[in-house]
């Protein structure tokens, strides 16, 4: 259920706290401090006010706040002792259903991180694939205290921005979604390639998991973005285009079996809120791609 910003601006403190108090993990004081800054001209301003409250809080309070976050894929998550938002965020990348090996690896990293920094590792999981969470985890373990404290607050910013954008509607919504799209052009015919099956795979290590399937329409595009209305998780991907079938259906000479059959485009996403347009221009003997927007 979403809440209009105008309604929020008229709320009493208890109502306001009830509505957005859980946005910052187990820290109702953030909402209380932000409430004093009403009215908010935009949803972005609401989020900024809440982040401002965190940033201007005394260091001890900030630490206490960071410590209130659950371990990633930790026992708390498995036992269900975290907020509903955290739970669904962690399940979005499969952190709630890790194999024993991966669970043990996360556990070791969590312990090492906590021992070094005194709070749990915080990352906006919806902006990452499982692989990039592990990469981030290992990289951030090497930070010094100040750098890592700032990095943790930045992740809080991303997490709560997503939560606010999901809860509140109105003017000036923060940009929290990215878009991955494609376009298949048959440069042999000089026309959009219609009816081409396109699959999107996400890599976890060397294993690729299919996360979306689409068929190109009369314009050579897919009816919906391959990923849209959510952040594009940072990570490695592969688009696979059934080019051989396309030219076979057109009756074009292309070798038997075809020189090109399934064409894979392997790329990485680094900007979760970015637009990634990855088109394929192809003939039976060649293809090209580029990052468009």
């Amino acid at each position: 259920m979403t809440l209009p910003l105008a309604d929020l601006n008229r709320m009493t403190l208890p109502a306001f706290s009830g509505a957005v108090g859980e946005t910052f993990e187990l820290a109702p004081w953030v909402a209380e401090a932000a409430w004093a800054k009403r009215p908010f001209a935009s949803v972005k301003a609401l989020h900024e006010a809440m982040m401002g409250a965190v940033r201007s809080a005394p260091r001890e309070r900030q630490l206490e706040f960071l410590r209130g976050h659950p371990d990633l894929a930790g026992k708390a998550a498995r036992a269900g002792a975290i907020t509903d938002d955290s739970k669904s965020e962690q399940s979005s990348v499969g952190l709630d259903s890790l194999g024993e090996d991966d669970f043990a690896r996360f556990h070791r990293l969590n312990d090492a991180y906590r021992a070094k920094f005194g709070f749990p590792f915080i990352v906006c999981v919806r902006r990452h694939t499982r692989d990039s969470i592990l990469t981030q985890f290992e990289r951030r373990l090497g930070h010094d205290d100040a750098t890592e404290f700032a990095a943790a607050l930045m992740e809080v910013f991303y997490i709560t921005r997503l939560r606010i954008a999901a809860k509140v509607t109105g003017e000036g919504m923060p940009r929290v979604s990215g878009r991955l799209s494609t376009h298949v052009l048959d440069t042999h015919a000089g026309r959009p390639a219609v009816g081409v099956v396109v699959e999107l795979y996400e890599f976890a290590g060397e294993a690729a998991h299919r996360i979306a399937t689409a068929v190109t329409n009369a314009d050579g595009r897919t009816d919906w973005p391959l990923i849209g209305d959510r952040p594009l998780p940072i990570g490695r991907y592969e688009l696979r285009f059934a080019v051989g079938n396309h030219f076979r259906s057109r009756g074009i000479e292309q070798g038997d079996p075809p020189f090109l059959d399934i064409v894979p485009l392997r790329f990485s996403i680094a900007e979760p809120e970015g637009h990634y347009h990855v088109p394929l221009l192809c003939t039976p003997w060649s293809y090209s791609t580029y990052r468009g927007s």
Binding site: G235, F259, L260, S268, S286
Partner: protein, 328 residues
């Protein structure tokens, strides 16, 4: 695995008739270097001067264990080209009585048969089978091959013949299953055609001179940096043979100052599915280019199919950190 062998493609008795073995093997049986070229041991002029005994000694085993083929071909001397020499042997086999042809295929031992005694396998034959990987199958594949061998013998009373060096493990299985559906006449023709390919490779590697038949293909690449419009020097390119989603690395090369690299040359390109992998991000890092984190393009895979083992496949890769084009 990269190697050059004098064309044996199966187990057989008898000494290696000619050709120099040169194999470069890693502990994993993976290609780490290009093969040393096979040095032909005979010239066509020498062959044309041979008496019958010398000729049969040289080519009596080209068609395995069957000096009668060489004896019949000997009468066709002189040979103007190496191709004509091979053609004479192939004609001798083709015009032989059908019973003699069937007997030839009957006495060959089965492909991938681990029970063949060491003295019954030439070194060349072992290498030959290792090219396609049929000597190092998983237990499941080995069982599958055994079943196919039995079904084939039951149906045709022959041993399945295929030019190993022109095929990958996957296409050997595909061909095996397809050819099991043949009738005897069609299958005998297929077997003779495969034997033609096997012996053509053997002759081409054994005899030098005019008109050597084309028995090798080549896969070459050309890497171009479209940011600066220059050849991309020092890009690493790997070639994987694909079986399902699994890849087996078969070659690696680095582009030269002209952006070019010979990935697979000096041998037949085994029929099958492949993936070329261009290390694009590593290359642009050496150029000081700004890349995403992680880079938008890192390893760029190009999946392709070789259908002609003696063909020329030239695959240029024109790339920037954000785009690429590839074509045959």
């Amino acid at each position: 695995m990269v190697l050059s062998v004098s064309g044996r493609r199966r187990f057989c008795r008898g000494a290696l008739a000619g050709g120099v073995l040169a194999a470069v093997l890693s502990p994993w049986g993976m290609a780490l270097a290009q093969p040393a070229p096979v040095k032909a041991t005979l010239t066509l002029a020498e062959v044309n001067r041979m008496d019958e005994a010398a000729f049969v000694a040289a080519f009596g085993d080209t068609y395995e264990l069957s000096p009668w083929v060489a004896k019949a071909a000997f009468t066709k001397r002189p040979f103007l080209t190496v191709t004509a020499l091979h053609q004479a042997l192939a004609d001798a086999f083709r015009t032989a009585p059908r019973e003699q042809q069937l007997a030839f295929f009957h006495k060959l031992s089965d492909i991938g048969d681990r029970t063949v005694k060491a003295e019954n396998i030439t070194a060349a034959s072992k290498l030959e089978q290792s090219v396609s990987g049929v000597d190092s199958l998983t237990e499941a594949d080995h069982e599958r091959l055994k079943k196919l061998n039995k079904a084939y013998r039951d149906k045709f009373n022959m041993s399945f013949t295929i030019a190993n060096r022109r095929n990958t493990k996957d296409t050997i299985f595909t061909q095996f299953e397809r050819r099991l559906g043949n009738d005897l006449a069609a299958e005998l023709a297929s077997a003779i055609q495969e034997e033609f390919f096997v012996t053509r490779l053997r002759i081409a590697e054994q005899v030098s001179g005019e008109g050597v038949p084309r028995v090798y293909g080549d896969l070459t690449v050309h890497a171009l940096n479209s940011v600066v419009g220059q050849p991309a020097n020092g890009m690493v390119i790997e070639l994987f043979e694909m079986s399902g989603e699994k890849g087996r690395k078969v070659a690696q090369a680095t582009s030269n100052v002209d952006g070019r690299a010979d990935v697979l040359v000096g041998r037949p390109l085994p029929i099958g599915r492949y993936e070329l992998r261009f290390a694009v991000a590593d290359y642009f890092r050496t150029q000081g280019s700004t890349l995403g984190n992680p880079p938008f393009l890192d390893i760029v895979p190009v999946r392709l199919y070789f259908e002609n083992p003696e063909g020329s496949y030239h695959v240029p890769m024109v790339c920037s950190p954000w785009s690429y084009a590839v074509y045959r």
